[in-house]
Each structure stands twice: as structure tokens, then as C-alpha cells.
């Protein structure tokens, strides 16, 4: 008993740390880690419904093999999800960077504009709005279909206008997804000390030069965080094709074992993509640290 009072400072420190974190860990184990390992176990088995609940029969990697060989839907969907990700993430990053640069300047109504740029995060994450828009078409029909076309037709030639509006639609999608990224970039921009710009100006650097020599290297860590965030976001969005497919397999078709195998394959694909991103950014990140 008395031993407890003789704990060293260090072990007391550790003990206190663990007692703080314990609630979270308990919740995490119970609702994340255990279900995760259960789904890994299920993915290696065949599930059969019997009197006393689900019964698992071991089948090894059959489900994983089936995903790439017999399933005609999975691989094309995976490809299209990857292409969407590859085209959208750079667009999101560029748009977010541009908006952050603009929003970071000192002007009237800055707070208002920042609010507006963040608004889609609030609304677009609502499942309801998505459903509402889905009823129109598979994509957001805000510009391409509505009477805006007729109104603007007098001003801009029709062929050009139609393409423009379709493009505006896809741009809207990109913009909706970049609310958080914009905030992260603004955060990064504000940590750069104005003295650096001043010094560059004294040395005769133009705005263009000081962007590439100061701003860009300094917010490299944010570019990295944003890339990760956008990739994960585009992979785990609920309207993503693969997520939809997994959901259907697991819940509508009730093939839970196969569904979780698909989930794990998907998870591995995401990890590979993220590993590549880590590898690309490793060099530029260490360069920034040396400078900083």
C-alpha cells in the first residue's frame, strides 16, 4: 500500500497522463478498434445466419480474391473514385490557396467573405440537401439547367455559355469541398511574419518573387495537411461510389462478410495513396524545417 506514495515524479506523471486519456481509450477500443478487428475477422469468413446469431465459417482470402476476379462492379468503381480524387484534389488545393491569399488581405468585409466561403461546409454536409439535389440529376444542376441560361443568353453566345455553365457546376463542387482547406491556408498565411516580406521588399523583390520565395515555402506544411485532408475527405465522402457500393453490399444485399472485405481493400488503397503523398512531401517538408 505504502508503495503508491513513494512513486517517483516520473511515474506519477505517466500515471496521471494515462488516467486522463483512459476514458477516450476505453471508448475508442470499444467502438472503433474492436469493431474494426471484428470486421477484419468477418472478411476472412463466410457469415451464415443461424438460430444463435451469426455463424462464421473460415474461408481465407476468398472474398479478397473475388473482389478482383469475379466482381465486375468493384474495380471500375475503384478506378473512377481514384480518378475523381486525382482530378479534384489539385483543383481544390489551387482554389483554396487562391481564396486564402485573397481572404488574408486587409479589406472591408473580410469576416463576411470568410463566413460565406465557409458556409458550404455547413450546408453541403447535410444529407438532406444532397438528397434534394440528387432528385434533379446525378450532378448538381444549379447552373446548367436553370433559367440562368436564358437570362444570360442575350449577353454571351449560347455555345460558349453552355460550356461555361457546365464548368461552373463542376467548379461549384470543388468550391464546396474547400471550405476547411481555405481556413487552414489562412491559418498558415497568418503565421508568416510580415518582417520577412519587408526584408524581401527592401532587397527589391517583386510580389511575384516574394510569393514563390517566401509564402509558398512557408505554407508547405499546410499544403501537406490540406492534401492529406482533401484526399481522405474525397475517399470517405458518403456520396462516393465505392462507399455507396460497400454500403449496398453490406446492408441491402446483406453480404456483410464480402462488404467488409471490400472495406479493407479500400482502406489499403487509401493507405497506399497517402503513403505516396508522404513520400512526395517528405523532401519539401524537411527543406522547410531547415529554413524555419
Amino acid at each position: 500500500m505504502g508503495k503508491k506514495f513513494r512513486l517517483s515524479m516520473r511515474s506519477r506523471h505517466i500515471l496521471e497522463g494515462y488516467s486522463f486519456i483512459s476514458i477516450w481509450i476505453a471508448g475508442f477500443l470499444m467502438f472503433m478498434l474492436v469493431p474494426l478487428s471484428m470486421s477484419l475477422y468477418y472478411s476472412l469468413n463466410n457469415l451464415e445466419v443461424s438460430k444463435d446469431g451469426l455463424k462464421a465459417v473460415y474461408t481465407g482470402l476468398t472474398h479478397y480474391r473475388a473482389a478482383f476476379t469475379t466482381d465486375i462492379d468493384f474495380v471500375p468503381r475503384l478506378q473512377s473514385t481514384l480518378t475523381t480524387m486525382l482530378t479534384q484534389v489539385p483543383l481544390i488545393l489551387i482554389f483554396a490557396m487562391l481564396s486564402a491569399l485573397l481572404l488574408n488581405r486587409n479589406f472591408r468585409g473580410r469576416i463576411l467573405f470568410r463566413g460565406i466561403f465557409f458556409l458550404p461546409v455547413i450546408i453541403a454536409s447535410g444529407a438532406i440537401l444532397r438528397e434534394l439535389l440528387e432528385q434533379g440529376a446525378t450532378k448538381l444542376p444549379i447552373f446548367a439547367q436553370y433559367d440562368l441560361f436564358e437570362k444570360l443568353n442575350g449577353l454571351i453566345p449560347g455555345d460558349f455559355l453552355e460550356n461555361l455553365l457546365i464548368y461552373a457546376d463542376s467548379l461549384t463542387l470543388v468550391m464546396w469541398d474547400s471550405g476547411v482547406q481555405i481556413l487552414i491556408f489562412i491559418a498558415g498565411l497568418q503565421t508568416i511574419s510580415p518582417a520577412l516580406y519587408e526584408a524581401a521588399r527592401c532587397d527589391g523583390a517583386t510580389k511575384w518573387e516574394s510569393f514563390w520565395k517566401i509564402t509558398f515555402p512557408m505554407i508547405m506544411p499546410m499544403v501537406f495537411v490540406n492534401t492529406l485532408f482533401s484526399i481522405v475527405n474525397s475517399f470517405t465522402k458518403t456520396d462516393n461510389k465505392i462507399m455507396d457500393y460497400i454500403n449496398n453490399t453490406a446492408f441491402r444485399a446483406n453480404d456483410y462478410a464480402y462488404g467488409s472485405a471490400l472495406g479493407w481493400i479500400y482502406f489499403i488503397v487509401i493507405s497506399i495513396v497517402l503513403a505516396i503523398v508522404f513520400f512526395i512531401f517528405r523532401r519539401s517538408l524537411s527543406a522547410t524545417e531547415g529554413r524555419g
Binding site: W24, P35, L132, F235
Partner: protein, 287 residues
Amino acid sequence: MTGLVKGKKVDWGGFFLYLFLTLFGLLMLAPLVYMVSTAFKPISELFLFPPRFFVMNPTFLNFRDLLLITGTTSVPFSRFIFNSLLISSCIVGFGIIVSAMAAYPLAKHNMPFRSAIFNMVVLAIMFSPLVVQIPQYLLISKIGLINTYWAMILPYLAAPVGMFLMTQFLRQIPDALLEAARIDGASEWKVFWVVVIPMLKPAIATFALFSFISAWNDPYPAMVYTTDQDMKSLPLAIQTLSGGYGVVARVGTLAAASLLMIVPTIIVFIVTQRLVLQTMAHSGLKE
């Protein structure tokens, strides 16, 4: 910022700045405007072809229909609103405390397995939530929590995102501040409440906003964990109202309901907005 201030010439830069921002801002606002205008459209305009962006003869019919439809079911509509409010505020409130308590030692205590735990959190963020749903369901039903509020609250408390955000934010706070409190004789618990929590305020506001948005809009927990009609949450009630996929007949009512749905999130955004922008400004995202 002084380095960016313009000279006193004709301010073309400023002009283009406003032009761009207004243009993009309008694009951003378009979905909201579309939703508002749909909510006020009478039937005759809802199915116009080609559809119209703006409403011609605004009407409150959709809102009246919403009340009438929901009035005919056995459970009053206010019950769904109450359920949703209760669940969302519990998730936000307890979630903040749990995440903050976990973030504090992860950022400031030098203990074994610290980075292992943190990496696990980052991994957990990447995993698709769908896959864990059935094991989670089995677990909940085994403990006997089906059809209780707990079933819809507990699984969401240990949120990886909140913990990640707060840990990153806390790392920036100087250790000296905590040391000073300890030297003055404060216990760890007291340091946590008196020093850490107030310092964390911006991160807490950010997390509160995000977790409120996701909890408020998510129909899945009520769909999976409840069978009773009076335990349903608002998003699920609205989904059933629309009649599921492919039913177009109540588009107007649905739009009215959706408009009512986003009102609380906008209120939460307005309340937390200043702190959220602040977090991002000084946030611990700089690694």
C-alpha cells in the same frame, strides 16, 4: 500584413479582389439560395420544365404541408426535434470533455506509447465508417442499449477528429504555463480545468461546430439503433417524409423541412464563428 497594403494609386488590385470574391461568394451562396427558393415554390413551379432557379410566386404552403403531414403520424414532430437536440448536444458536450481530456496528456505528458496512440488516431480517421457499423450494432445490442439515447450518443464520443485537432492545438501552448500552475501547487485535475480548458477554447469551438454539424445531420444512428417511432431523430424523420429514394411528390415539403434543418447549424456557426476563425489563425496545424 502591412507588407501587402496597397499604395494610394487607383486601387485596381482592390477592385479585382472584390470582384473575384463577390463572384466566388455568389457561387458559394447559390445552393443556399436555391434551397430557400425551392422551399417557397408552389406546386405549379416545382415541376416546371425547364426548372427555374428563383421562385415567382412565393407561398408558405410547403411549411403548412410539413406540419399537416407530420401531424397525422402518431408522434408529434416536436418529439423528433427534441430527440435530435438532445442527442446532438450530448455528443458535442461530452465529446468535448472526453477529447480534451485525452488531448492534454497526448500533447503535454511524456509517457510511453504516446506516439503509438496518436498514430492510431490518425489511422482511425482514414477508415471508412461503414465497415464498423455492423460490429458496432452487434455490440450495442449485446449491451442492451437498443432504443435508448445512449446507443446514439456513446459510439460518437471518442471522436478521433476532435482529439487530433485539440492535440495539435495544445502542442503550441508553452509548457512554462503549465509548470507555473504546478509550482503554485495545482493538481493535474485543476491544471486541466483552469489552464488547459481556457487555452483550448478556440479548438473547442471548432470541434463543437464540426461535431454538431455531423451529429445533427446524420440519420444513420437513429436508423440503425432504434426501432421505436418516438426515438427517431429529425434527419431520419425528414428522410421518411420524403418517402425514400425516387419519390418526387413532396419535393416542396422536403425543401421546407431542409430549410428548417439548417437553421440550428447556422446558429451554431454564428455563435462559434469568431473562435473558429481564430483557431485556424493560431492553430496547431503548424507541425
